[in-house]
Amino acid sequence: MKVFRLSQTELDNMVQGWSQNRRVYRPAAGRQQSTHADCAPGWERVAASTPLTLPPGPSKTSVKTFLFPQPETMQTYTLKSSDPDKGLMKEPQKATEKQIIVGLRPCDARSVKLNNLPFQEDPFYQVNLARTVMVGFTCSAMCATCFCDQMGGSPMGTEGLDIAISQVDGSFIAEVLTPVGEELTAEIRLTPAEDSEINALAERRKNSPQADFAKLDVLKGRDLNTLYKAALWQTLGESCINCGACTFNCPTCYCFDVQDEVVRGQGRRIRYWDSCMFPLYSLHTTGHNPRGQKMQRTRNRFMHKLKYFPERYGLFSCVGCGRCVKDCPVNIDIREVMSDLLAVE
């Protein structure tokens, strides 16, 4: 593994160098959307003038906006009778050139691995994953809303990243972790980090909060039905307003729906984010809705993350980024839900 030391200017130059001939994205500095139409909310294309400094904590929206875009065009077609291809579903040409995501946090990097479990055989996700290079920033401290350590991650973690950048006393240490990362750093002349710096980083990693899911793992052994029938859901469901703020900003929520859009004879079949908070999510064609009540929908989100997903894949579907904690309009805190669930007998 190659390790380099960069100053702020060198870091900015490196990232801007990449952006000369590639698409490089970073968490948006301002609130408003950048001018690039290809960019998801909360992110922007790297511009020449803005230095790469990040506020503590994860980006506003998660990295899933790149791998599981909202929307993904699955097929296109025309309904114009003059067109000989009328009614033929065509697969659109997928972009395959590399895109570089700079500034994601270790929690988001871990979410990619978790989402890869259900999306293992999903061609759209896999194509996006293959073209995405992830240059992450490790966290020097955990925010009040962060709990990545409880979910099996760590603020200094490098899992899922191609290059991990850590800030150490005003300069940056870049760890190149994959061949793709090496390819990117090979283009630029960089100063290798000294052994003392590498040791200091290792020391810091050792002292940072470590992955510890011993407490939560207890949940895996609990009876599903008991948890399902727990009284806490009623209270929780009562204050939930069933919006999608938690699910849409969650890096590990991956539910989608498929719809056709036709305008002036041109059509496309898209898949777009769906949320188990919405009544339409589970509505049957018959009109029956197995999750017709607010409480049932609220319960589903947490049960899926903490029980159904682990039952199937062995891992909790949560990376502890704390976005849902921050964004929830009614302050439903998944950490409280977890401790309440642990208390259910």
């Binding site: 065009t73 659109p92 859009e261 002036r264 041109q266």
Partner: protein, 161 residues
């Protein structure tokens, strides 16, 4: 149809003529009792009016919801005309009065977000006003023509993905 003819005549000269030959598409929501009958009368009486309107027959102007108007804009209509019975003549007693009440709210809101004034119009045409219908369509068409093709709030489906 006139549009196709004109284009085929001019497409040999230059492509810039595309804008010269542009004809607005105007969606007209006409109530079945008055305005649609008025349009019918205009046709029967051979009053000429611009062929730019595409008529959608509705039971009452009060039935035309903001969803329909914005849907038409989204689909690329250059102008919208909602026409019903004169106040007091509604076949459902007051549907047109409710439509009139709502009209400035939607119109102002659209202008507030930058849709050019004149894209959305309302009118009253009775079943006996064939000539007036033709005049209103002329006025609306001229107004939309002066604005040029609609560019805002139009949904485009990108075939490239």
């Amino acid at each position: 149809m006139s549009k196709t003819n004109k284009t085929s005549e001019t497409n040999m000269t230059s492509e810039t003529n595309e804008t010269d030959t542009w004809e607005p598409k105007i969606i007209a929501f006409l109530c079945t009792w008055c305005s649609y009958a008025g349009a019918d009368l205009a046709g029967v009486s051979r009053f000429q009016y611009p062929p730019n309107i595409r008529i959608v027959k509705v039971p009452c102007s009060g039935r035309v919801s903001e969803n329909m108007i914005l849907s038409a804009l989204k689909s690329g209509a250059d102008g919208i005309l909602v026409s019903g019975c004169h106040p007091g003549d509604c076949h459902f007693i007051s549907g047109n009065m409710f439509a009139r009440r709502r009209s400035p709210l939607l119109g102002n809101l659209l202008e507030f977000v930058g849709i050019e004034p004149g894209r959305v119009s309302f009118s009253w045409v009775s079943a006996s006003e064939g000539e007036q219908f033709a005049e209103i369509v002329k006025t609306v068409t001229e107004r939309v023509k002066a604005l040029g093709p609609a560019t805002r709030l139009i949904k485009k489906i990108d075939q490239a993905a």
